[in-house]
């Protein structure tokens, strides 16, 4: 009972934090489940995927009602991630994992440095022809570098398959740095997107019986409540404040990837 209560509390925290930065929350939940709850890694990953769906379902309601989600952008970028993930399955044996961890860790640190340098929110000044053709932009939005953002999503999909990492951080980066959407809109749209990819995998794990039902419900409920809290916090934090939190997360994940790359090559 105590462990269920602890799982619920940690899930609330993970859901709040994951919704704030648009990453889902697996970065907190998986270490807790494996190190504290002593749950095998494959089960922890399956539980994390299920909880990402809970976060996405919960956060999307608030973000949609506040008109913060760019649904056509989400639909367009999602195809890149899914294609990349499938491509990643085929090339996973061909790529040097430790070097990739190291290189993309450096890339995230560089992105964090660029984020720190950004004092003023970037605003797109022209709408890319592809955005016009696909009718991606709505209202006053302008979207720049649409093909480049899609290519980053493709790469993110490949990396999530090859390295086994969540692609949320790359989703937010692509929308913020390339499409030049406001950071709040980027994290809200990322929250909307992550549910889609996690949905299929978690359904498979559920059907295969790899998710303990009661713990799955406890974690999902926790993430659901956390996402409600997180989505309320997003509307109270300024774009610059959110940028600082996201930069901190980029540095943490970047360092973690570099360490895994160095350890793997030893």
């Amino acid at each position: 009972m105590t462990l269920f209560a602890a799982s619920f509390i940690v899930s609330v925290l993970a859901g709040t934090f994951g919704t704030l930065v648009g990453l889902g929350g697996g970065v907190i939940l998986i270490p807790f489940l494996t190190l504290v709850m002593d749950i095998p890694l494959p089960t922890a990953v399956a539980l994390s995927l299920l909880s990402i769906v809970a976060t996405s379902n919960s956060a999307a309601t608030r973000f949609l009602s506040q008109n913060m989600v760019r649904v056509p952008v989400a639909s367009f970028l999602e195809l890149g991630t899914v294609l990349g993930a499938i491509l990643g399955v085929f090339v996973s044996g061909l790529l040097p994992v430790s070097i990739l961890f190291f290189l993309f860790g450096l890339f995230l640190l560089f992105s964090a440095y660029q984020m720190l340098k950004t004092r003023v929110e970037m605003v797109a000044t022209l709408n890319h022809p592809l955005a016009q053709r696909l009718q991606l932009s709505e209202g006053h939005d302008q979207l720049e570098k649409v093909p480049q953002a899609w290519a980053v999503m493709l790469l993110a999909g490949v990396l999530s398959s090859v390295l086994g990492i969540g692609a949320g951080v790359f989703k937010v980066l692509a929308m913020d740095r390339m499409l030049k959407l406001p950071l709040k809109v980027s994290t809200a749209t990322s929250n909307f997107m992550i549910g889609m990819t996690a949905s299929a995998s978690s359904l498979i794990f559920l059907i295969q019986g790899k998710i303990p039902v009661v713990l799955g419900v406890v974690v999902s409920l926790g993430m659901f409540c956390g996402a409600l809290l997180g989505s309320r916090l997003v509307s109270k934090i300024s774009n610059q404040g959110l940028r600082k939190i996201f930069t901190f997360v980029l540095i943490l994940i970047g360092l973690q990837m570099i360490v895994r790359g160095v350890n793997g090559s030893l």
């Binding site: 949609l64 949905s199 419900v217």
Partner: protein
């Protein structure tokens, strides 16, 4: 159909789905579990299945809404994504 109407419909679907998962299944599942009824776990499993399938159903709804908006390219993109996820999921069973 306008974009705001589309978002409104997606939002309504998500709210109904979330409420069904939370109230109908999670709550009744826990009550049945507390009463030591074997259907409790079945209800909770059903809730998880419903919750996990919500984003996929949401995407199918979006395909329909895009066709109503006459945004054919986006409808095809969403449909391709759903099919790719479905096919890769089926392939993972073998």
């Amino acid at each position: 159909m306008e974009a705001s109407k589309r978002n409104e419909m997606v939002l309504r679907f998500l709210k109904i789905s979330n409420q069904a998962v939370l109230i109908l299944f999670f709550l009744s599942g826990f009550i049945l579990l507390a009463l030591d009824h074997r259907m409790g776990e079945v209800f909770l499993y059903g809730a998880l299945l419903m919750m996990a399938s919500t984003p996929l159903v949401r995407s199918c709804l979006l395909v329909w809404l895009y066709t109503q908006e006459k945004r054919k390219a986006l409808a095809w993109i969403s449909l391709t994504t759903i099919l790719l996820i479905f096919l890769s999921s089926v392939a993972s069973f073998f």
